[in-house]
Symmetry: C2
Subunit: 130 residues, 2 copies
DNA sequence: GTAAACCCTGGAGCTGGCTTTACGTCAAGC
DNA sequence: GCTTGACGTAAAGCCAGCTCCAGGGTTTAC
């Protein structure tokens, strides 16, 4: 799979894919004899994982740490798990905060509905009284 | 209320408060004769609102639009509501995505637990067989 | 065999959102 | 009356995370 196919498949720009690889978020991708990237299934898996984690707000740096540990093998299992646990907690906190903001927006929108109706009634009254 | 009190109260830096005001996210705050900001209750309300919305991911620009509409009065009620509805949908989508990433992290963490246990057993076995 | 369409790299540039800097004013305590 | 420290402004700087560009090598289609 070449880079533009992967780009389309995951909705990440070609530049971003190269950037992620350069930054070590994705292991170095195999190249064809002429030097073109050829993404394996596994590479795609990493791309998808990174995309998902980035969208959830994990930093480039954190993800780089994770993959670095990953490639050190089994003896980093505990560290990797700890990293994930920490990020999971952060994510949970972000979600909770956003949930309550969502509720707040819902409430505000409801209020607006009420006010808009009231405003329209007011207009109607004025028109009738003419 | 002066700027440093508001800063402490809401956990936004003094610089950020000035920045928000300059960018029009917060209405211009009343000044003392000598030009120092003196935040009213209402100002504080805006600060709190903006802080909350920023944390939920609404852009500076969107919030500026909202407050601009707000100060045009009642005839922008519908527009303001629409803006909030759009942002609400975006927020909901972000939350949903993050929820599923959270679930994914939970799953991964569980897997790690299993693997760590397996790894420890392996070590134990090796030690016994010596 | 040549133009069009990809791909490569390294490095510069951009964007959003603050943060720092440089420099000046003012109020309070000593 | 002088220092100290909080406040003011404008403008430059900074950081994360891309995004674009120049310059050059392939591959593909005609």
């Amino acid at each position: 799979m070449n880079i533009s196919e992967v780009s389309k498949k995951y909705g990440l720009s070609i530049d971003t894919l190269r950037y992620y690889e350069k930054e070590g978020l994705i292991p170095p991708v195999r190249r064809s004899e002429s030097g073109l990237r050829d993404y394996s299934e596994q590479d795609c898996g990493w791309v998808e994982f990174i995309k998902c984690m980035r969208a959830a707000g994990l930093s480039i740096d954190t993800l780089r740490q994770y993959i670095t540990l990953y490639f050190k093998g089994n003896r980093t299992l505990q560290k990797r798990k700890n990293l994930l646990v920490v990020e999971r907690e952060k994510l949970k906190a972000r979600i909770d905060e956003m949930q309550s903001t969502l509720a707040r927006l819902d409430y505000k929108i409801e209020m607006y509905e009420g006010r808009i109706v009231a405003c329209e009634k007011e207009l109607l009254k004025k028109r009738k009284s003419k």
